[in-house]
Symmetry: C2
Amino acid sequence: MVVLARRTQRERRDETRAKLLDATLACLGELGVARTTTTEVVQRAGVSQGALFKHFPSKAALLSAAVEQLFSELVEGYEGTFAQLPRDASHAFDLLWAFFTGPKLAIAFELYLTARTDEALQAALEPVVRTHRAQLIAHARVLFPEAAAKPEFDAWIDLMMMAMEGLVVERFGAGDVGAPALAVLKRLSVAMLERRS
Amino acid sequence: MVVLARRTQRERRDETRAKLLDATLACLGELGVARTTTTEVVQRAGVSQGALFKHFPSKAALLSAAVEQLFSELVEGYEGTFAQLPRDASHAFDLLWAFFTGPKLAIAFELYLTARTDEALQAALEPVVRTHRAQLIAHARVLFPEAAAKPEFDAWIDLMMMAMEGLVVERFGAGDVGAPALAVLKRLSVAMLERRS
DNA sequence: ACAGATAAGAAGTGACTTGTCACTTTCTAT
DNA sequence: ATAGAAAGTGACAAGTCACTTCTTATCTGT
C-alpha cells in the first residue's frame, strides 16, 4: 500500500493536464503529427483514455493547447538564453540558429504545413505564431539598439529568421545541405546588426 | 454497350498508373498528407482499390512515385518558364516567387517535414530534392553568367531559395505576413544578380 | 478463334483511432 | 462523518485505414 500525498482537486487536475500536454509535445517531436495518436499520448502520460477527453473535448483541442504551450516554452527559451548575452552579433546569430535547429521549432514548422489544409489548426496557430515573431523582433531591438534605428530593421530580422526557417525545412527533405548558404546568411546578418545607421 | 477504343496492355497499364499518380498529387495538394488516403485516391482516379495495389505494393511506394513525378513536373515548369526569359533579375525573382507560392512546392515542403519522422519517405525524397536544387542553380548560372562568376554565387542562389522557402512555410502558419522581408530579399537578390564581379 | 496472361473490379479483413459511457476513486463542504 | 462534486478508469462502440483475395474483363501470341 503506497501512501500518496494528498492533493487538492486543482492540483490533480493541473498535474494530469500538464502530463498530457508534455506527452503530446514529446509525441509530436519524436513521432511527428501523423503518428501522434490519443492512445500513444495517454500511454506516455500514464493516464487513461477517458481522462484525456475529460480535459480536452477533442484531439484537435489537445493539439491546440499543446501548440500554445510549445510557443510559450519557445518564448521563455529566448528570454533565458538572450538575457545575459553580450551584444555580439556573431554569437547571437549562432544562438538563434541553435534554436531553429532544435526540436521545438521542427514541431512548429510541421504544424504550419499541417495547418495549410486544416482550418481549425490554422485558427489556433495564427495568433500565437504572430506573437512569437513579434517577440523575437522585440528581443532583437533590445539587443541591437543602434542597428534597430534603421528603417528596415524589422524586415531584416524577419528575413533572417525566414531564411533560417527555410534552411531548416530543406534539411529535413534533402539531408544536411545548405552550409554555404548559412555562412553567407551569417555574414550578411552580422554586417547588418553591427552597422550603426 | 459502349464502344471502347482498343488499347494495348501497356497503354491500359500506363493510363491507370498516370491516373493514380495525378489523383495522388491532387489529394496531397488539396487535402494534405494526413487526409491523403488510398480510398480517396482511387475514388478520384476512378479505379478500384485492387488496381492501386497491383501497381504499387504499398501506400509508401505510391507516395514515393508521386514525389518523383512532382519534382519532374517542377523541373519541367522551370524550363518552360525561364526558357525565353529576358535576363532581367527583377522579373526572374518574381517568377521564382510565383513558383514557390504555387501549389506544387507546398506539397514538397509538407513532405519534407513528414520525412523528418519517416525514414522511408526520407530515402525517397533525398536524391530527387538534391537534383531539384542543383537544377535550379544551374538555371540561374545560365541566366546570369556574369554574376555566376562570383565565387559565392551558388551559395547566394541557395540562400535566396531558402529564404523564399521559409517565407512560404511561415505564411501557412501565420497567414499572409512577411511582405517587408520579401521586399528586402528582392532588393538584395537583384543587386547580387546584376553585379558583375 | 482461343488458351493463357495481364489488368481491373468487388467485396472483404483485421488492425488501429477517436470518442463515449457506466462506474470507481479522490477530494470538499457542511 | 458523510453526501455530493470532481477527477479518473478501462472497456467498448463506430468508423476508417491499408492491404488481400477472389472474380471478371480485356488483351496477346499462335
